[in-house]
Symmetry: C2
Subunit: 332 residues, 2 copies
């Protein structure tokens, strides 16, 4: 069935009325600039939880019912417009959806080459968090060495990525979390100052040049009050709410910049630019061992429901990764 | 008295307990990179009104009790560290205060050369508004040709400057005002679309790429809702209030940038950079007649109280300019 040239069916994690189930689909044949990647690892992101609850639809052109925003693995087949990738090449990258599957159909511009030294299962948890953090720090905030960077929600996947990248680029880091244990883990990863999230945290934080805010809501007040002259605030997450009071007097007198960023809703060419910047500026830091992914757990597709619940619990530290082929191996 | 080398006393507009009076001061001798400018014209800005009411103190190093943020005139004397200006040179520029006087002590880096064709009395109303508008459009919003620019308060001095500069740089302009007559005047100056400020104005405005917001307060909601993907909002004024709700969900999903800007509080070197950009990119447009200052009235220092009241009334259109030497001439 499916005219897929005899290729075996792919296994996907399908959302069915708010629940996850493993299903089979015909394997598509890549056309034009498309690339079919056999997925070794694919990270679970908060956006997947929202999509599962029907609150974060996939952008047009991507599978509607299969979550998963990232992958690492091996090129299985390429379309005739693909220029530099060949079957067998190791890649990782972001997708608009469909990553939680044995194979994902993507395009060449959204794939970066996966260096030899990196494990492809674990590397499946790198692209979304590190591209988001890198883009927030450098494209949005234009962070410079020597600056002091505040990261709200430093224990999250993007928070840890922002901490590691900011440190590697010569910044001093201050991080907040509601969990003392996460601050301790972040400190082991090089966080210069950890502050337990509380009403009076602004005074403990002191002055900063850049804020990477993964929490949103009333944290915006803390962001504005702790920023120095010419500070830049990047809103990346909104778990504490999507609306807040903005002190425009402080924004004006301190000449602050408040920006928001989301990767998934960008047009393809803008995502491609972010992936290219990641390949050029972040991947070499993984190769050199300056960056190192923190992994909470690796599970098979069949265990996704539990993995999603663990992510929702806020009790994990580091990435949760699905390994679609591990379970196949076990079952074989 | 005062060791000013025999130079005549200067006449200043002095704030005395919330009222304005003309007073005499010893004329200072410029030292180092300082320049003494004989002021032909000096614009009245909203900040002067605030300073008169004791609500906008001058930055350190500038006269505390003499308002005036800009000037045009002739170099009267220079310090020994001044490199390119000589007595007799025509200049205009911004100052941290003290502009409303017969002479103002400033520094070389805050002066731009005043082209031959421009009247120095009227030109005293150019620097503050056009440097602010240029900086907001290009340094803050990074406006590009072909974009659609919304200007709230388009009938104000900075509003008219933003309209003229945006137009000259290839943008389409939409302006709001609470006064129909001001929208009509702005339309004569080339405003593409005028919208009367009202609760439902967002729908009439449509979609824009850049907002120059001279009003603040609840206008922020309009700014965020009318911005397209990757839109940039620059808060320049806060006459409608310094706090407002920010829809961070829209900021994030549309990847908006909200920045504030104020000229007066910047360090000297940053002001110098803004003046240099003005001299390079704005002054040639005045020379070519592409930009043309709109002047409401020109009055002497003795008439300042009435000029300030006119500015506060919001019934003026174009700059109000003080000409400190006109009255001296009349009195002679």
């Amino acid at each position: 069935m499916g005219g897929s040239g005899g290729r075996a069916a792919l296994r996907v994690l399908r959302i069915d009325d708010g629940r996850l189930e493993v299903a089979e689909r015909p394997t598509p044949e890549p056309a034009g600039e498309q690339v079919l990647v056999e997925v070794a690892g694919t990270g679970v992101n908060r956006a997947d939880l929202l999509q599962k609850m029907g609150r974060y639809p996939a952008p047009k052109g991507w599978p509607e019912d299969v979550p998963g925003l990232e992958h690492a693995g091996t090129v299985a087949a390429v379309g005739d417009g693909v220029r530099s990738l060949r079957p067998g090449d190791r890649v990782f990258g972001i997708v608009g959806g469909g990553g939680h599957a044995s194979h994902v159909l993507t395009t060449e511009s959204l794939c970066a080459r996966l260096p030899e030294g990196l494990d492809p299962v674990r590397a499946g948890g790198i692209p979304e968090a590190y591209i988001t953090a890198h883009d927030a720090l450098f494209e949005r905030a234009r962070m410079r060495p020597g600056e002091r960077v505040l990261i709200h929600g430093v224990g999250s996947g993007v928070g840890i990525a922002a901490l590691q990248i900011a440190r590697a680029a010569g910044a001093t880091t201050v991080g907040t979390s509601r969990t003392l244990a996460k601050l301790e883990r972040a400190t082991q990863l090089g966080l210069d100052e950890g502050v337990l999230a509380a009403d009076d945290m602004a005074a403990l934080i002191g002055e900063v040049d850049v804020v990477i805010d993964l929490i949103g809501g009333d944290y915006l007040e803390v962001d504005v009050s702790t920023c120095r002259i010419a500070g830049r605030i990047v809103i990346v997450g909104l778990v504490a709410g999507a609306r807040a009071q903005l002190d425009m007097g402080a924004v004006l007198s301190k000449r602050l910049q408040v920006t928001g960023t989301a990767l998934r809703s960008r047009p393809e060419h803008a995502k491609g630019a972010a992936v290219a910047a990641f390949e050029r500026e972040v991947v070499p830091l993984f190769e050199r061992g300056v960056l190192d992914l923190v992994v909470d757990r690796v599970v098979g597709l069949e265990e996704a429901e539990g993995a999603y619940a663990a992510m929702a619990s806020n009790e994990t530290f580091g990435r949760i990764i699905l390994a679609p082929h591990d379970l196949v191996a076990k079952r074989a």
